[in-house]
């Protein structure tokens, strides 16, 4: 009988969570020094909760954990009394590798952080290196970067909504529609950079190569058709009673907790905090575009969904303007060099508004060809930290869609 704890499925040794509930236990989940012992989240003396508890390890090969992520969940019936995110299954040593590689050599690795949004990852890293070395980005390159980053945002948000609906059990239909549109944008990426997902397109002080002939017209066509698709998408989903019932009031995240926990991106804006680095930092040429930042009010799953849909519409505005105004000219700073770059001693922190939140890169240069320290601030990881706080008291089904609405990519969480 599996109501008892005898059949604990989690084999790993994990540090038991301390008593304070929020924001703990999300770092170093696997302790290699501790001798292997059987581990359980269940309270020893089961006095506080009546009835028997059931501990379930959801993941790392669970269909809805978006990769190799694990949630150790303690259930009372179907209600969650405790939840512990466990990750690290996809750790690839990105930061340490980057400290042994040249500045240029890290760009392809940044593609693989959040593999849905390689263009914005490139930009975050390039921005940091430009800060460190003082390269100027030419006009045309800035426009190209904005176009690519906003297209990436479309790709990411549309996929996210598809995945979220998949978690809600919609048989993949919204996901397939999302992928149909994503394909068109990926074609654009391929035409410009040569690869669909691992673009490796941006360079310090510009972009790697100019846009091929006719690319801008193609892009304009895609951008023109996208709103029609979004309307259809919203007709399918936004008014759907089941979606409303499932999403409204579920996984509510308070403003204060969100700010305290360092949540960024659409997650934060869904709570009603007006914080968009495109507006705050005005990096690149974002001050030239007229766009608004949609804000939610309840901080629940539905707000997170709607904020993303609205953000796509704003991105389309930016894209339209950028595709109209893009000038001719150089695509890379004449002074910039990618090979053998040795920035002067110093440190820099560059951040961009990635589709998932604030994507930051922190670099310390000791004057050599490799960075002395390289650190990524991954929005996925930091947005994941409050998972337990959003899920407590709800059911497994809710936990699955809350995880879906957080929008994580395990490549970025574990790096």
């Amino acid at each position: 009988m599996s109501f008892s704890n005898s059949g604990n499925t989690g084999g790993e040794t994990v540090i038991p969570s301390s008593d304070s509930p929020s924001l703990n236990g999300v770092t170093a989940a696997i302790d290699f020094d501790e001798p292997q012992k059987s581990y359980s989240l269940l309270p020893k003396q089961n006095s506080e909760v009546p009835g028997e508890l059931l501990e379930v390890a959801m993941g790392p090969h669970h269909p809805s954990t978006h990769g190799v992520f694990r949630m150790d969940v303690v259930l009372d019936g179907e209600r969650i009394v405790k939840l512990k995110p466990v990750f690290g299954y996809l750790h690839r040593n990105h930061e340490k590798i980057a400290e042994g590689t040249s500045y240029l050599g890290s760009i392809p690795y940044t593609d693989r952080l959040d593999y849905l949004c390689s263009m914005s990852n490139n930009w975050g890293y390039a921005l940091t290196v430009e800060k460190l070395s003082g390269f100027q980005v030419p006009e045309r390159a800035e426009y190209i970067r904005v176009i690519m980053a906003e297209l990436t945002r479309l790709v990411n948000h549309i996929c996210l909504v598809g995945f979220l609906m998949q978690d809600m059990g919609a048989m993949g239909t919204p996901l397939m529609y999302a992928f149909r549109e994503r394909e068109k944008i990926l074609d654009l990426f391929e035409a410009a950079s040569g690869a669909r997902m691992m673009c490796n397109y941006l360079r310090f002080g510009g972009v790697r190569c100019d846009l091929p002939k006719g690319w801008l017209d193609e892009a304009r066509k895609v951008v023109e058709n996208f709103p029609r698709f979004l309307d259809e998408f919203e007709a399918l989903l936004s008014g759907n009673e089941i979606l409303i019932a499932r999403a409204q009031g579920v996984g509510v995240l308070g403003k204060e907790l969100a700010v305290n926990a360092g949540i960024t991106g659409p997650m934060l804006r869904a709570c009603g905090v007006n914080y968009d680095i495109r507006k705050v930092d005005k990096y690149g040429i974002y001050d030239r575009f007229d766009f608004r930042v949609p804000l939610g009010e309840h901080g629940d799953v539905f707000d997170r969904y709607m904020v993303r849909v609205l953000e796509m519409r704003e991105s389309l505005k930016i894209l339209k303007a950028a595709l109209r105004d893009i000038p001719e000219g150089l695509i890379v700073d004449a002074k910039a060099k990618s090979r053998g770059l040795r920035p002067k001693v110093g440190e820099a922190y560059g951040r961009i508004e990635g589709p998932k939140g604030e994507l930051g890169f922190y670099l310390i240069s000791d004057g050599s060809a490799n960075p002395y320290r390289y650190r990524v601030r991954p929005p996925s990881l930091i947005n994941l930290t409050i998972l337990e706080d959003m899920c407590l008291g709800l059911t497994i089904a809710d936990a699955v869609i809350i995880l879906g609405s957080v929008d994580i990519v395990l490549g970025e969480v574990d790096r």
């Binding site: 050599g105 760009i107 392809p108 593609d111 529609y177 149909r180 089941i242």
Partner: protein, 216 residues
């Protein structure tokens, strides 16, 4: 009222169901092995080595400078420089790669080797049907498998290839002119040498400048 949103959604899926029979706007699937989309000009997959002329090994543009080996982020290129020099495509003695292996099971198709190569010797291929049943040997490509003629490159990336070819042709012209000038100078010098006071002939700089290819 309860159900309106559901019915709207059902209407959307019905529209897509019908639309998928009406043309490629909604049904975007391509039946892969039979139908293929034309690859984009910029598309890239795994690197190959370009050679000029007919002889794959003699005409290799690579001079084994090992920059790509050093810059490759996942370190999947293995080069052994030759001991001897081999006449380059314009007859200039250059090193050549005694071995040049790329482990495409490690390669992440980032194109950095292409970017850093000063000789336009390594380029990206578009072939993607490379699966084999052998994980090790079959995916470690050697110099012989990697070498592809310039014509192949011209086919893959016409714009870039045309640019490189014109540059090479110009350089070749320049080099020929220079060689001619050198020869003339030599002849002159010889003539002068016959005269009482000989003058040293101008010596070519030691820096190997990329020179024009033999033929295309």
């Amino acid at each position: 009222m309860l159900g309106t949103g559901l019915i709207k959604g059902m209407a959307q899926t019905a529209k897509n169901f019908v639309g998928s029979y009406q043309g490629p706007e909604r049904l975007v699937t391509v039946q892969y092995p039979e139908e293929r989309l034309a690859p984009k000009e910029n598309a890239r997959n795994f690197p190959f080595l370009v050679f000029d002329g007919d002889d794959a090994q003699k005409g290799l543009r690579c001079v084994a400078c090992q920059i790509c080996e050093k810059e490759c982020p996942p370190k999947c290129i293995y080069i052994n420089k030759s001991k001897d020099k081999k006449p380059d495509y314009i007859g200039k003695p250059q090193f050549y790669p005694a071995t040049f292996d790329i482990d495409i099971s490690v390669c992440m198709s980032c194109q950095i080797c292409v970017e850093v190569c000063p000789f336009d010797a390594i380029k990206m291929d578009k072939v993607f049907e490379l699966s084999t049943t052998d994980r090790f040997e079959a995916l470690l490509l050697h110099k012989t498998e990697l070498a592809k003629p310039n014509e192949y490159f011209q086919e893959l990336h016409p714009t870039e290839a045309a640019e490189i070819d014109t540059r090479f042709a110009e350089e070749k012209l320049k080099a020929e002119a220079k060689a001619k000038a050198d020869a003339e100078a030599k002849a002159k010098a010889a003539a002068i040498a016959a005269a009482p006071k000989p003058e040293p002939a101008p010596v070519d700089g030691s820096i190997p400048t990329p020179v024009a290819p033999k033929t295309i």
